[in-house]
């Protein structure tokens, strides 16, 4: 359902994504992991048609992301890192804007919007303008937009960050349920505990290169141990003034 073949992206001399190849079958949940600046968002942007690759090719739901960008957008639901929301619209209006653009009738859009707002606990704030919403509400709105048109493939950039634990669990259960119905999910996250319970395929990227790729069930150790083994351990600089008597 998602296929990447030797996908690369260079910005001048800097190679953000280097020769990345992988396949995610229909109904699979693939987690893309890596430290900040590893190239995760760049790879996500290329897969969703937001950024043209320098070389290589990618297919989403059978469509070439470079040649058929509109078809990819119709087939995919996308939660971008920056959410991409309009300050001049309320939560409800975002959903009502999106439905007809994807070909849903007004009544169907309203029905689905009401269900999504309920599922994501957004009902109370539905008439709030986005510039007055909390980060969690903004994230949930962007997620609702990604789901509204019943996509065959979901690209979710950090879906669990900035939301409360109950909502994170709701989202995790929702994603597991829709993957069970054949929706393919490709997500990035830094919350390894959730990824561990959700993903069935793990892709670790570092410096733009894939450094680990396997089924989740094939991990030789816990996900955390594998991850820290692949990514440089952090060092803590000594800050002697911290904790000393106040000046």
């Amino acid at each position: 359902m998602i296929s990447s073949r030797n996908l690369s992206r260079r910005f001048g001399e800097f190679t953000a994504v280097d020769n990345v190849s992988f396949e995610v079958p229909s109904g699979g949940i693939c987690a893309l992991l890596g430290p900040n600046g590893a190239g995760k968002s760049t790879l996500m942007k290329m897969l969703t048609g937001l950024l043209a690759p320098t070389s290589g090719e990618a297919f989403v739901a059978g469509y070439d992301v470079r040649k058929e960008p509109l078809a990819v957008k119709h087939a995919a639901g996308i939660l971008p890192e920056s959410l991409g929301l309009f300050d001049a619209l309320t939560i409800d209006e975002h959903l009502l804007l999106s439905g007809p653009i994807y070909g849903l009738t007004h009544a169907e859009t309203r029905r689905r919007a009401a269900q999504l707002l309920h599922a994501l606990s957004l009902e109370e704030g539905r008439d709030t303008f986005l510039n007055q919403c909390s980060q969690g509400m903004r994230k949930k709105t962007a997620l609702a937009l990604a789901l509204l048109h019943n996509p065959r493939v979901l690209f979710l950039d950090e879906p669990f960050e900035g939301v409360d634990p109950v909502t994170a669990d709701t989202i995790r259960n929702l994603l597991a349920a829709i993957a069970g119905r054949g929706v393919t999910i490709f997500l990035t996250s830094h919350i390894l505990s959730i990824v561990n319970r959700l993903a069935d395929q793990i892709l670790v990227i570092r410096g733009g290169r894939v450094v680990w790729q396997s089924a989740a069930s094939d991990l030789p150790q816990s996900l955390e141990e594998v991850y820290f083994g692949l990514v440089e351990a952090s060092t803590v600089d000594d800050l002697p003034w911290l904790g000393s008597p106040q000046s």
Binding site: P80, G84, E93, L97, P100, I101
Partner: protein, 338 residues
């Protein structure tokens, strides 16, 4: 005072940076036209300068303390007397007060300076009273009243209409339109030529928006547009329809066809910068665009087309429409090409 001095210094820095956002006026087509009028005859331009001044009064007189995030202000370990001192000294940082200082140093202009300072304080008191009243009521947002046109692009058009009304340009046009309506209501007959000129001035006041259609969407709204399964021409059409709807309402009491023709030309030329060189814009400021070449050609061709529609033939309106449609098609493709 020692405790609040760094806060006042930071506040002054923030306000100074904010003042730079007013410089967008120098890239505004209406400012270009006013400057041209004033080169010809200073007195003729004073009316328009007064219009710009009226609209800038409120943003220039805003309460400087509003620049400090309320949570941050609460978190700072300030004593009660320091908070009072901060509150009392902050009006001195109001941009309108700064603008009054040059007048203070010229003895003959002291009343002007005092009037500016009084206006700044009065506006701050009124705004504070308004916020106090509104804090106890459900949030009021007049932009909710903007209707949603039918069709799949209707909600986008509604959003675009709201955005267009959060900058000062349409309010210059509105003041021009209201001045004309008041003139007519006082039973004076408006010279048909004056109606055409006023209609073109209204279109000119809006025209810089036509070269910065995505300025208020940057950066995140622009990303949402890229995610939507819409073609470039559809996205531009929604923007243009919102622009033309506002223009139509404003030129309806004046001379609709010349005004609309000028609007179509403004959009036709403005698509270039809107699609290929989108510039971020600020709410409650004038839109800043490129005076040359885009603004210059917009002004010249808008005036020429508007006058031709009024004096020569409606075929010029058809020509403006054809030019607009060609631009929509071409720049829609450029959008799609990314």
């Amino acid at each position: 005072m020692a405790g609040i001095a760094p806060i006042l210094a930071a506040l002054a820095r923030v306000i100074w940076r904010d003042l730079r956002t007013f410089s967008t006026l120098t890239g505004n087509n209406f400012f270009l036209v006013v400057a041209f009028i004033m080169i010809q005859q200073v007195q003729s331009g004073l009316f328009f300068i007064a219009l710009l001044g009226i609209l800038l009064l409120v943003p220039l007189a805003g309460d400087p303390m509003r620049k400090i995030p309320p949570d941050r202000l609460t978190l700072w370990p300030l004593t009660r007397s320091q908070r009072i001192a901060l509150r009392l000294s902050s009006p001195a940082l109001t941009p309108l007060v700064w603008l009054a200082i040059p007048f203070l140093f010229r003895a003959a202009r002291i009343p002007v300076a005092l009037a500016m300072i009084a206006a700044a304080l009065l506006i701050q008191v009124l705004l504070a009273a308004w916020r106090h009243i509104m804090a106890r009521r459900p949030p009021l947002n007049p932009f909710r009243a903007i209707p949603k046109p039918p069709g799949k692009l209707g909600r986008l058009m509604q959003k675009d209409g709201r955005q267009f009304l959060t900058v000062l340009d349409p309010y210059v046009a509105l003041l021009l339109c209201l001045a004309c309506i008041i003139y007519r209501l006082t039973a004076r007959i408006l010279d048909p030529e004056a109606g055409v000129i006023l209609s073109l001035l209204v279109a000119l006041a809006l025209s810089t928006q036509a070269q910065s259609l995505f300025g208020l969407d940057l950066p995140w709204g622009m990303l949402r547009y890229r995610l939507l399964p819409l073609q470039g021409r559809e996205i531009l059409l929604a923007k243009d329809a919102a622009f033309l709807a506002i223009l139509l309402i404003l030129v309806l009491p004046l001379a609709p066809l010349p005004g609309l023709a000028a609007g179509l030309v403004a959009l036709g030329i403005g698509h270039h910068d809107s699609v290929l060189r989108p510039m971020p814009q600020h709410r409650w400021r004038f839109i800043g665009g490129a005076i040359f070449p885009t603004g210059f050609f917009q002004v010249i061709l808008m005036m020429a087309t508007g006058v031709a529609v009024a004096r020569q033939s409606l075929w010029y309106f058809a020509g403006a429409t054809a030019f607009y449609l060609a631009s929509l098609w071409y720049y829609g493709r450029r959008w799609d090409a990314g």
